[in-house]
């Protein structure tokens, strides 16, 4: 009996400037395999399906349990995390591609620095006075905590940006990830000290007004963050802020 195998088709690119090409692989199947263990098998034996020697495919990972966002890529046409993509649940050949909205570094690795830079622009933090002892934090209702815990699970993976028609490689739109973080920090009793600044940073070019309300983002988010609710809420806050700015002029 022929041994069970897994077939993969991977879009490769050897550096930022070279053109992409496809390679196919066939590796031994094992129980509870995920896309990560397929990529490890290729590392063990970097030979294509047709027997040609090649190099291992580069990819990023850290947690391997879908909490860090590192291993995000396009799997069978859908953007998701490779570590939680179980071979038994997806069609073969498994087609792997790098995300398209960020510059490719090599193979499946892209540079998502833009997401981190945007967090800086909107001051996505609680401005505490310092780490020294100042007693307990503000009291929170468990029900409110639960809502904001959902928002704070964002792992900066970029799935929501990959699927967003408004977010492009070379435009300014910040996208749902950032807008939702603005909502999170504006809500926090201490974080709210920077609310106006944050709203100003998502008011102009690249801000919340550019969202076309296509709702792709909320469907793509692996952490099931209510992104469209966040967009609506921040949109409302921005409108109020615009009026406030106008009256204070």
């Amino acid at each position: 009996m022929a041994e069970k195998t897994v077939r993969l088709k991977i879009k490769r690119q050897l550096n930022a400037d070279s053109s992409p090409f496809w390679e196919e692989f066939e590796i031994p199947y094992g129980p509870s395999m995920n896309v990560i263990s397929c990529l490890v098998a290729i590392q063990e034996n970097p030979v294509t399906r047709s027997g040609k020697k090649t190099t291992a495919v580069a990819w990023e990972c850290s947690c391997l349990e879908e909490v860090c966002g590192a291993c995000t890529m396009i799997i069978n046409g859908k953007v998701r995390q490779a570590c939680s993509a179980l071979v038994d649940n997806i069609d073969q050949p498994i087609v792997l591609e790098p995300m398209t909205k960020f510059p490719v570094v090599r193979d499946l690795v892209v540079d998502r620095q833009r997401m981190f830079d945007n967090l800086k622009k909107v001051q996505a933090w609680v401005p505490v006075d310092g780490s020294f002892d100042m007693g307990p934090g503000p009291k929170l209702k468990e029900s409110e905590r639960a809502v904001h815990y959902e928002l704070s699970k964002c792992m900066t993976c970029g799935c929501c940006l990959e699927v967003c028609p408004q977010f492009e490689k070379d435009n300014d739109f910040m996208g749902a990830q950032i807008i939702s973080q603005v909502r999170l920090f504006n809500f926090h009793p201490t974080g709210a000290a920077l609310k106006e600044d944050r709203l100003h940073s998502v008011m102009g070019k690249g801000g919340v007004a550019e969202c076309g309300n296509a709702q792709n983002c909320v469907e793509a988010c692996p952490k099931e963050i209510p992104l469209t609710t966040s967009i609506a809420e921040v949109g409302r806050q921005v409108t109020l802020q615009v009026m406030k700015d106008w009256f204070l002029k």
Partner: protein
């Protein structure tokens, strides 16, 4: 700004907290991390962080927490630092809360706490079952503030190679590699903090990931830093075996009432509850693990004859499970396919944490290399022979409070290097030579296969049960593997993100560290905490109430010992079948 700069290697919890403390004390930081810091492995921590906040009016206190920590660690923890850590814990939780960490709340809006292993008091604060992720995010946000203000420069995608050390044994900088271009660079430093986490990947599959190689600690060891208590590797009792890693099912599952059982004579057998009536399912990890191991391996009572037992939450209210343990419920569902709200989970022990690590001074966290500090899991200081659950997140943050100010104080006093440029040049050349060697490798050994061989040997001989003859064979094997490393062939010669070349470099270091762990275990002829030798089944305070120190030498790790600080709590027998205070009177129990 000052021309003094502190380099922090690692942006997990320990690295981030250290960075914050250095910035607050006024010095700039170069923060080096090969993954974006927000993706550091600390995100995996699930269950929570310990602090004796006494939220339930049951008389908990930092002293009780300290006593649990020392007793749980089988008296090998240095008591001064462990006590200071437990005293600081409530402040630390409040600080995180102020930073916006979404801790679970009680109906009144206060911090909620839950039970964890080795403690009778509920003192673990938590954010669902993704506490580590939420903690990393809170600290990452604060560091981003300092970054926006120009006080922190991040070097993301940079891989640490080695220290730049002068002949007064003082660290002057580091050699790092930009992984995208494979170019080696030097960073000058007035002081260097290592915060690079654990070494689980040595064992292949563990609850850690591929990025936890211990390679940075090993590089420092090879340059003369002492490595302490390497034999103490924690095997967590409850993980789900996977094809790439073993995924942890947090101890908080038992903290929230989860029960462990298997079938015996056709009936459910709640073995921990029966064997350890005082602590039940919440015995410390070393004990739970040895029990499960014995039940499966020696008694053959694993489920369906396999090495698995039940961890059961299926009798609990599903809404409460989602609120308090949502993160691990999802992991089990996603990776196993069954719903743990309905059926018991199947688990088995897996390598999880290293109590051992770089040796540091008890007051300052400085290693034996001047100006070199270690913080977080990579530091050996707080947990003795066995770490209590939810104490690691605490020690990572606490270390930041120790290391940060100590490194700043040192940096403000130390004299600059006499000829930094020449020194940096020398170490850069050394690192370049190593990579030239790796790029030229064309032997017929396969690096991944060598690693698998090492992992198999280490998992068989250097985990739950240890025998001296098998450890001796293991050491020989590791020496052989290290030699075979020279005959690896590599396929990838690219100068863009060459993960193969980086891996081959790390593999060499993992082999060196594996040998340190093994030789340390070989020399400790007793059983204590996670270190268990059937030939020497008892704790032997007379000969081994001491810290193991491994130092590099031509013929492998050289072992010496150092006194343990037991100035506050007198060592007593450790027996979890009864209350921990029951063994205080001499002569009672074993």
């Amino acid at each position: 700004m000052s021309d003094k700069r502190i380099v922090v290697i690692g942006g997990g919890l320990a690295g981030l907290m250290t960075t914050i403390r250095i910035c607050e004390e006024g010095l700039p930081v170069d923060l080096v991390s090969f993954v974006p810091v927000k993706r550091s492995h600390s995100v995996c921590a699930q269950g929570g962080i310990n602090a004796a906040l006494d939220m339930q009016g049951k008389g908990d206190s930092p002293w009780e927490h300290f006593d649990d920590t020392v007793y749980g660690g089988d008296f090998l923890a240095n008591q001064g630092p462990a006590k200071r850590m437990c005293e600081k814990a409530p402040e630390i939780v409040h600080m995180l809360d102020r930073m916006g960490l979404m801790f679970n709340r009680t109906p009144e809006g206060q911090l909620d706490v839950r039970a964890f292993g080795g403690a009778k008091q509920k003192r673990t604060a938590f954010a669902g079952a993704t506490t580590g992720q939420q903690m990393i995010y809170a600290l990452d946000e604060q560091v981003r503030r300092f970054e926006a203000a120009g006080q922190v420069k991040k070097w993301i995608g940079y891989d640490f190679q080695e220290l730049i050390v002068d002949d007064t044994k003082t660290v002057r900088g580091v050699v790092v590699m930009n992984m995208n271009t494979m170019k080696l660079e030097t960073l000058p430093a007035t002081a260097v903090v290592i915060a690079t986490g654990g070494p689980g990947y040595i064992y292949g599959k563990s609850t850690n990931s591929f990025i936890n190689t211990g390679s940075v600690a090993t590089a420092c060891y090879l340059q003369g830093a002492k490595y302490a208590n390497g034999e103490f590797i924690q095997i967590h009792p409850t993980a789900i075996p996977g094809s790439d890693k073993d995924r942890l099912m947090s101890e908080s599952a038992r903290g929230e009432g989860g029960r462990m059982w298997t079938y015996k004579d056709g009936k459910p057998w709640y073995f921990l509850e029966e064997m350890f009536p005082a602590y039940g399912n919440l015995v410390p990890r070393d004990i739970a693990t040895r029990t499960i191991y014995d039940i499966c391996i020696n008694q053959g009572l694993g489920l369906d004859g396999e090495n698995k037992v039940f961890l059961d939450l299926s009798f609990k209210d599903p809404d409460e499970l989602d609120r308090k343990l949502g993160g691990i419920m999802e992991i089990y569902e996603k990776f196993v396919g069954d719903d743990p709200r309905k059926v018991p989970m199947k688990v088995f022990p897996s390598v999880h944490y290293s109590m051992g690590g770089m040796w540091v001074d008890a007051e300052t966290d400085m290693t034996n290399i001047n100006g070199l500090y270690a913080a977080g899991e990579v530091n050996y200081q707080y947990h003795g022979a066995n770490r209590l659950g939810a104490n690691s997140l605490l020690s990572c943050i606490y270390d930041g409070f120790v290391t940060g100010p100590a490194a700043v104080k040192y940096a403000n006093e130390v004299k600059p290097a006499s000829d930094y440029d020449a020194l940096a040049e020398k170490f850069l050349g050394q690192s370049e030579k190593l990579f030239e060697q790796i790029y030229a490798m064309d032997g017929d050994e396969n690096a991944r296969k060598l690693h698998q061989e090492m992992a198999k040997w280490m998992t068989e001989r250097m985990t739950v049960v240890r025998h001296n003859d098998k450890l001796e064979e293991l050491e020989k094997k590791l020496v052989e593997l290290r030699e075979r490393w020279n005959h690896i062939g590599i396929a990838d010669h690219s100068k863009v993100l060459n993960q193969e070349a980086i891996y081959v470099k790390d593999l060499q270091r993992m082999m060196e560290l594996a040998r340190v762990l093994t030789v340390s275990a070989l020399h400790r002829n007793e059983s204590r905490g996670a270190h268990y030798k059937p030939e020497f089944p008892n704790r032997d305070d007379e000969n081994f109430l001491k810290t193991t120190i491994a130092t590099v030498s031509e013929d492998g790790p050289k072992i010496s010992y150092e006194e343990v600080d037991t100035s506050l709590i007198k060592p007593r027998a450790r027996n979890y079948a009864v209350d921990k205070h029951a063994t205080e009177t001499e002569g009672e129990d074993k």
